[in-house]
């Protein structure tokens, strides 16, 4: 399998402080990689480097994807635009926006404003917007963290369907063991300040992966804090 993204010895300093130290990572086409670690461990900074918003202090990123979609932690919907207008903001294709809204189950809500939607629905719009660019690579930043448990599980299942349909490779960050084991083929444990890869799990089944995460969680967190 060819790789869609390769990061080599990526490091990032803010002032004198190393936030990220020497992360190397390869994502194959169609693969889902989850970065697992506590809040504030530099995961978001790493995603910003990957998506090209900020430059690393050292190291290199090799990109081999066509279009990048980004699902934001705080949704980042434009409050004064309707659901449909929010999607058209990134791509003017109305046929696609109708199709994507149908896929996430929000076709009846296209004229609604974000403030009129629930947290789960906003997240669906956030995902739908990412799909508007026909992405082959999708980045998810703590995508389901603020949602109620049952909504979260439903949304993750729906998301995995979409992932298959769009044939996307995924890079997700989360601090939730359940989310990590459901989303990933591989789970990389990131320590905090500076962020480093501490451990890696290859997922056979989500259930066994979750158990393995919980098994080393205590030891991992003692290193992090």
């Amino acid at each position: 399998m060819e790789s869609i993204l390769k990061a080599q010895k990526v490091a990032k300093k803010f002032g004198k402080l190393y936030v990220i130290d020497d992360i190397s990572l390869e994502i194959k086409r169609g693969e889902s990689v989850v970065l697992f670690g506590p809040s504030g461990c530099g995961k978001t900074t790493f995603l910003k480097i990957i998506s090209g918003i900020i430059k690393p202090t050292s190291g290199e990123i090799f990109k081999n994807y066509g279009k990048l979609g980004f699902v934001f932690q705080e949704d980042r919907l434009i409050p004064w635009l309707t659901v449909e207008e929010n999607l058209l903001f990134v791509n003017d294709d109305r046929t696609l926006s109708d199709k994507v809204l149908f896929m996430v189950g929000l076709e009846k809500f296209k004229k609604y404003y974000p403030s009129e939607l629930s947290g789960g629905m906003k997240k669906r719009v956030n995902i739908a917007r990412a799909l508007m660019v026909n992405p082959d690579f999708l980045i998810l930043d703590e995508p389901f963290s603020s949602l109620d448990y049952h909504i979260k599980i439903k949304l993750i299942k729906d998301f995995l369907e979409l992932k298959k349909k769009f044939e996307m490779s995924v890079l997700a960050v989360t601090h939730d063991p359940k989310e990590a084991s459901l989303l990933g083929n591989r789970i990389l444990f990131l320590t905090s300040r500076p962020s480093k890869i501490f451990y890696e799990i290859t997922v056979d089944t989500p259930e066994s992966a979750e158990k393995r995460i919980l098994g080393i969680l205590e030891k991992f967190l003692s290193i992090c804090y």
Partner: protein
């Protein structure tokens, strides 16, 4: 219902006070004022003056918004320009209406230009600062989102930048339309040739207090009507921006 009750209470209190003072020069009764108000409504000269005041008000409001919004945007976009202009705006904001008067009278004499100029100068800083803070408060996360998706600059400006300052512009519009009448009236009184302010000046020189009160009523109605008008204009837009 409560509003009507409040209004009745206010009129009763006024009537009582007028009876105690018992001098229509100091405080005329509501009945006197009402009678004069109705007489005034039959007088064509009153309407000529009313139209004069309203057109000055609209002229000043238009000038304030047309100058203030772009100026505020320019200042808001750059921190350097903002800090250069800030003291200038602060000074402008604290200049009393009276101080502009000499300048306006020497420049244009008695007429409509003085009141329009002075009202513009005294309300302009509010709109400039409002718009500038709207720009400064733009959600940088939305801009970052747009950059990740490679959204065109034109779309970012229309949907994120302009969108962010709309509530501030609407707020400015309400403030301007609600307050411009006060400065128009004062400046008409001081350097106008027509208008409600000029009528108040005449009434004062004849010591006609009931007339002054009746004209004040007109000014109050005018301000309320204009505020209502601005709400009417913005109500549709506000639905979209109700998050604020």
């Amino acid at each position: 219902m409560n509003r009507i009750l409040g209004f009745l209470l206010f009129v009763t209190f006024w009537a009582l006070l007028a009876r105690i003072i018992n001098s229509s020069t100091i405080l005329p009764t509501p009945v006197d004022v009402g009678r004069i108000f109705i007489d005034m409504l039959k007088d064509p000269i009153f309407y000529k003056n009313l139209i004069s005041t309203i057109s000055k008000g609209f002229m000043a409001s238009t000038l304030i918004l047309v100058l203030g919004i772009p100026l505020g945007m320019i200042i808001g976009f750059s921190r350097t320009i903002y800090s250069i202009f800030k003291p200038f705006i602060t000074i402008l904001q604290s200049v009393p209406v009276i101080s502009w008067l000499a300048f306006a009278v020497f420049m244009w004499g008695i007429g409509w230009k003085g009141p329009v100029f002075i009202s513009t100068m005294s309300l302009l800083p509010i709109v400039v600062i409002n718009t500038a803070s709207g720009i400064a408060n733009i959600d940088s996360e939305l801009v970052e989102m747009a950059k990740i998706y490679n959204v065109a600059k034109r779309k970012i400006i229309i949907h994120i930048y302009i969108g962010s300052i709309v509530p501030f512009i609407l707020a400015s519009m309400e403030v301007v339309l609600g307050n411009v009448w006060k400065t128009i009236l004062v400046t008409e009184y001081l350097c106008g040739d027509h208008g409600i302010g000029v009528m108040i000046a005449w009434a004062r020189s004849y010591i006609d207090t009931p007339q002054i009160f009746a004209l004040t009523l007109v000014a109050v109605f005018l301000a309320i009507a204009m505020e209502y008008l601005s709400k009417l204009i913005t109500r549709r837009l506000v639905k979209k921006w109700k998050v604020y």
